[in-house]
Subunit: 101 residues, 2 copies
């Protein structure tokens, strides 16, 4: 059953189009991760944070990705990385028009 | 421009179908919030947390909703509610097949 990952971390560097240029190759590569379905790339200049919301096909694949990605972010120099895997309540999400698989 | 809200909080009560019965009316009502587009209802028995990922049409509407919803959750007895509004990096999200509006 599909799951959601939420990740965020303090960030105060590039934003928007500049981020899109820097991260283009990484974004392409995420499409090849086992069980990956989609990712919203998120950023908040107001709160000086960046992150992502992902859908994966299973908790197992999501947790493997989250571990690898958290280590990669730490290598990029990020700290205080917060990442959680959640099951989806499909009945309630369907009422609220969520784009379920 | 559409934004994402992420909310989560400690929860160790009902899950899944039982949650769906209890929260049905609230879920219906969220469809009427100004600027609301969709919500994933999320839950993690493993981490004893529940929450949501929302799309709203603007940061202004998202922040108004988040303030009201955080107060409502506190009235329900929840504490340590974490909620953040993020802009979407549309270029990177499109590469990663996110369901953009």
């Amino acid at each position: 059953m599909a799951v959601i990952i939420h990740v965020d971390f303090p960030h105060n560097d590039v934003w928007g189009k500049e981020m899109a240029v820097q991260m283009n190759e990484l974004a392409q590569s995420i499409n090849n991760e086992p069980g990956f379905i989609w990712k919203f790339w998120t950023e908040s200049k107001k709160d000086e944070m960046a992150g992502g919301v992902y859908m994966f096909d299973s908790r197992e694949n999501a947790e493997k990705y989250l571990k690898m990605h958290s280590e990669r972010l730490a290598q990029f120099g990020y700290s205080n990385i917060r990442g959680k895997v959640f099951e989806i309540n499909e009945e309630l999400s369907a009422i609220c028009k969520a784009p379920l698989q």
